[in-house]
């Protein structure tokens, strides 16, 4: 019994300590964002890594997500004779929900894990210590560009995901299943307004912060050799995915 209580206490303290360290890490990073100079070269490199190199994956998954939503939506709506609502259904679900969430999950899998591994390897090979010895701020030099790049690329990739998804839905709902081409886009543009688009932007922006935060934190404090980096990378991907889904519910409740 005593052992159980002790292990519960140790787990609670460990979790609280980790949350505190994550909070301090985020706070330090946010302060360092506003400290000149901006690492322009690093920022461009990170935008290319997170953004450009995720583009094909986002196009591919966006297209098939739109196609699946259109296929299942068409089957469901036909039962009620509401096929003309396919456009709004595909559009709104992609703009408000599926676009931000799925694009963030895809970027986490492709770029977030790689960022954790990269920073983790830099930590265990003492490259981060080397920056400190050179009197350079490793958070400013390594983490801030990743944060800014994520804030820029996540909304852009989300918009690509949504656009491709809408056209994917069009191919299935209109070209393959014979829905009305005019109704698909007309109904969609009358159902969706700017608040829906802004919701998608806010969500993808906040997911960008979450992915950059968790990926960088886990990599930055990785320890215990190759196994430690592997452990940090796994933890980073799992935590990003869980936080994206949890935060999606809360921000969705606030912005509804």
């Amino acid at each position: 019994m005593l052992r159980f209580v002790r292990s519960c206490g140790r787990l609670t303290l460990g979790t609280l300590r980790e949350m505190g360290r994550m909070g301090i890490f985020l706070g330090t990073t946010l302060v360092d964002i506003f400290r000149p100079p901006l690492q322009g070269g690093q920022l461009v490199r990170r935008i290319y890594f997170i953004g450009s190199r995720s583009l094909l994956l986002i196009v591919f998954t966006g297209a098939f997500t739109g196609m699946v939503v259109a296929l299942q939506g068409y089957i469901a709506l036909r039962r009620f004779g509401g096929e003309e609502a396919l456009g709004p259904m595909v559009g709104l679900s992609l703009i408000r929900e599926l676009g931000p969430v799925l694009s963030a999950l895809m970027i986490t899998a492709r770029a977030g894990s790689a960022l954790t591994a990269e920073l983790g390897i830099m930590r265990i090979t003492e490259q981060i210590d080397a920056l400190e010895v050179m009197a350079l701020n490793p958070i400013k030099y390594l983490v801030v560009p990743i944060f800014l790049a994520a804030c820029i690329t996540f909304p852009l990739l989300n918009s690509v995901f949504v656009t491709v998804g809408i056209y994917g839905g069009y191919i299935v709902g209109v070209e393959l299943l014979g829905g009305s081409s005019g109704a698909y886009f007309t109904q969609m543009s009358s159902a969706a307004d700017s608040s829906d688009i802004w919701m998608g932007v806010y969500k993808s922006l906040s997911f960008g912060v979450i992915v950059a935060w968790v990926s960088c934190f886990k990599g930055f404090y990785a320890a215990h050799g190759a196994e430690g980096v592997s452990h940090a990378t796994t933890q980073s991907v799992v935590m990003c995915a869980v936080l994206i889904l949890v935060w999606d519910y809360f921000i969705g409740s606030v912005l509804v």
Binding site: E126, Q127, A130, V133, M134, A135
Partner: protein, 248 residues
């Protein structure tokens, strides 16, 4: 002058430094020896503020660094260079960019001035002509020398070496030691070297100290340490399994 006063450091229940005192004079080649896991790298990281002691003081001349904020600590760090055990070269950069990195990030030198300085340092460490290679394309010895060139490029007053010859064959060990001595004579820095290369370090050091059990158990000139009758020092020097040092 570098001075450590009663420095204690523990990780969890493991006490690594327990009241360590050490004085390192200017322009010395000060070698700290000790068994693996004795806390030598930990000691070195305290000198440059990469670790903070649980208690005690670390003085660099008249500045006590353990209580300094980031900005003040960075001013002190600008006087240091450090050669890490594995080199710690940035693997995404070429050798040239690695060596040029501190100058590009911390000085306003023109690219032509940086090029001259980088080539001078690479020549001094015997790596002329490898500018475009990446760290992964270099041998262990070349990586150490490239890292040494990077740590020297800012003309530090104090250079820390964390086991600079680990993993190298005896010929390269001697070559690195000769290089450190030549550079020390040429550039006149204070060198603090953590090593367990016995007896090779005796020809390198002006002062030598042995770290064991979290404290300096013996210090002095290399000849004094070799003549020491301290059983811990004697066992370490001879490499015998029996003695006061618990091997397992």
């Amino acid at each position: 002058m570098i001075r450590l006063v009663n420095v204690c450091k523990s990780f969890g229940s493991q006490q690594v430094l327990s009241g360590l005192n050490l004085d390192i004079p200017d322009r010395a080649v000060y070698v700290v020896v000790g068994v693996s896991g004795a806390g030598k790298s930990c000691l070195l990281k305290h000198l440059i503020g990469l670790m903070r002691p649980d208690s005690g003081q670390v003085w660099i001349d008249d500045i006590e660094i353990t209580s300094l904020g980031r900005r003040a600590l960075n001013r002190v760090r600008n006087r240091f260079g450090m050669l890490f055990q594995g080199g710690a070269l940035f693997d995404s950069m070429s050798v040239y960019d690695n060596v040029a990195f501190p100058l590009r990030e911390k000085t306003r030198k023109s690219e032509a001035e940086i090029r001259d300085k980088v080539h001078e340092r690479l020549f001094q460490v015997g790596l002329a002509g490898v500018d475009a290679k990446f760290p992964s394309e270099l041998s262990g010895g070349m990586r150490k020398r490239a890292a040494l060139a990077r740590s020297l490029v800012s003309d530090p007053e104090i250079l820390l070496f964390d086991e600079p010859t680990t993993g190298l064959d005896p010929i390269r060990v001697n070559a690195i030691h000769r290089l450190i001595l030549d550079l020390h004579q040429m550039l006149d820095f204070t060198a603090v070297i953590v090593s367990h290369e016995i007896p090779a370090v005796f020809s390198l050091a002006t002062h030598i100290a042995m770290l064991h059990g979290g404290v300096i158990v013996e210090s002095g000139s290399p000849s004094a340490l070799q003549a020491s009758d301290n059983p811990i020092v004697r066992q370490f020097m001879s490499g015998q399994l029996e003695g006061p040092i618990d091997v397992y």
